[in-house]
Amino acid sequence: MTAPIYDGAIVGATGGRQVAGPSCNDEFHCITCSDEGVPMRVEELLGTGLARCIDASDQRSDVMTGLVGDVAVGDVLLVHAGAAILQLPESEHGPGEERAA
């Protein structure tokens, strides 16, 4: 077996490049095919069902929140293709420093 494990972390074919799951800027990645889910922190409410959010790479985008009910500044949402599909419990996710999937 060729173990893709070096220095205590599974790094695989990226050779340890620090990527936190797939992102829109990743040349080897497609948002919908990868079933992407990016945790983003709510920065500003933009009216009904819309919030400006920031991810772990400080990328900001407008996110539709119609699937997760009321949100407040500081909430952490799991975002796919511009829509929040889940509100993540704050106790498990410090704002803006985590990323799943």
Binding site: G12, G49, H80
Partner: protein
């Protein structure tokens, strides 16, 4: 980073690898299918399959929405995009998918106004900024992506936008799985379920796999340790003679899904009677179209499309790859006539397609193995 480092932890990976090796029966060949392009990507990117015993084979199913789009639908998209007043928007990978008459990227080079977007909301924004143009969004994806399209259309209607249209190619995951399980040329021992699809629909829709077909399922996250743990869950069920739905991705997947998403989807979409899947043929009730209430936004009602079924190129074996009958490198044109730069089949276009993922990450390991 929380929820990243611990799921790439080498010690955990080694421990799971050893546990997996200890529960497989020597002499038995295990085939486990992952049905999400994100999982295929993780397997090749992190070399997860290299941490498995030789008799545990991961088979890549039809979980990449780009890969399952038939050529005729791409031709229809190009026909819409060539309308002079249309701005055609789509996710990046769709621009490179070949139809019978070229790609959207080639149509763009010919003068069509084709633009890449990261979400349907971006497409709606383009429509609002260009009220004298007609803006079409090429909607693809499984149940994870369909709610985003639905919310965007609801927003378009609420805002009174009349120049925004959706060319709907959303598909559903359960019917193709059933078709695969009914396929006579495929023997599978278990499934790794799609994590974020299940965030929307829950784990419940996959119960039929265990109940009716006697196959274990583990709903999985997307980091390498997630994948190893899910493989272990499936193998442990097999070793203990169980078959049920286990949720490895509990930090994100509620067993019953997102009820608000169900409401939104049922308002905006309805099931198509049938839809063609590349490599799998026509599957009943396997895709979505806009409901009667949203007919005004339906690009297929607004624009004339050829609607012609186009056969795949003879050399292309995407269908067999999607069904897991052959592995990517066993295709006749893999890595020679068909590469990510010049794809013949869809599996080589999307980075989450089995062929492209293997070409980008796995082929060097295999070269070493052969040497």
């Amino acid at each position: 980073m929380k929820f990243v480092d611990e799921f790439r932890d080498a010690e955990l990976g080694r421990m799971l690898s050893e546990q997996i090796a200890s529960i497989v029966e020597p002499g038995r060949h295990y085939k486990i299918m992952e049905v999400c392009g994100g999982h295929t990507h993780t397997i090749y990117r992190y070399g997860v399959d290299d941490l498995l015993p030789a008799n545990v084979e991961l088979v890549h199913g039809p979980g990449c929405p780009v890969c399952v789009i038939p050529m005729g639908r791409v031709d229809d998209a190009i026909a819409i995009a060539r309308n002079p007043n249309v701005i055609f928007t789509c996710f990046g990978d769709m621009m490179r998918v070949p139809g019978g008459h070229g790609t959207l990227l080639e149509a763009k080079a010919d003068g069509a106004d084709v633009r890449m977007v990261y979400s349907p909301l971006d497409a709606l924004r383009i429509a609002k900024a260009n009220p004298d143009r007609e803006v079409v969004f090429f909607a693809i994806g499984f149940e994870t992506t369909a709610p985003s399209t639905a919310l965007t259309l609801m927003r378009a209607r609420a805002d009174g936008v009349t120049n925004f249209f959706c060319y709907c190619n959303h598909v559903t995951i359960v019917p193709p799985l059933r078709a695969l399980l009914e396929s006579p040329d495929l023997r599978l021992d278990g499934f790794i379920g799609p994590g974020h699809v299940c965030t929307v629909v829950g784990a419940r829709p996959f119960e039929f796999i265990a109940r009716e077909y006697g196959k274990p399922v583990a709903i999985s996250g997307f980091e390498p340790v997630d994948m190893l743990q899910s493989v272990h869950m499936v193998l442990r069920q097999l070793a203990e003679g169980r078959c049920e739905i286990e949720n490895q991705y509990t930090r994100v997947v509620p067993y019953n899904g997102n009820p608000q998403a169900f409401r939104v989807l049922s308002e905006v979409f309805e099931l198509r009677p049938h839809f063609e899947w590349r490599g799998l043929g026509f599957i009943a009730q396997s895709a979505l179209k806009l409901s009667e209430a949203y007919r005004d936004f339906d690009a297929e009602c607004r624009f004339d499309v050829p609607g012609v079924r186009v056969a795949d190129p003879k050399a292309c074996q995407c269908g067999e790859v999607l069904k897991g009958v052959i592995r990517p490198w066993e295709c006749k044109v893999f890595g020679t006539a068909c590469t990510p730069e010049h794809p013949i089949g869809t599996c080589m276009v999307s980075s989450e397609g089995a062929c492209a993922a293997y070409y980008n990450f796995g082929r060097f390991a295999r070269t070493r193995e052969l040497v």
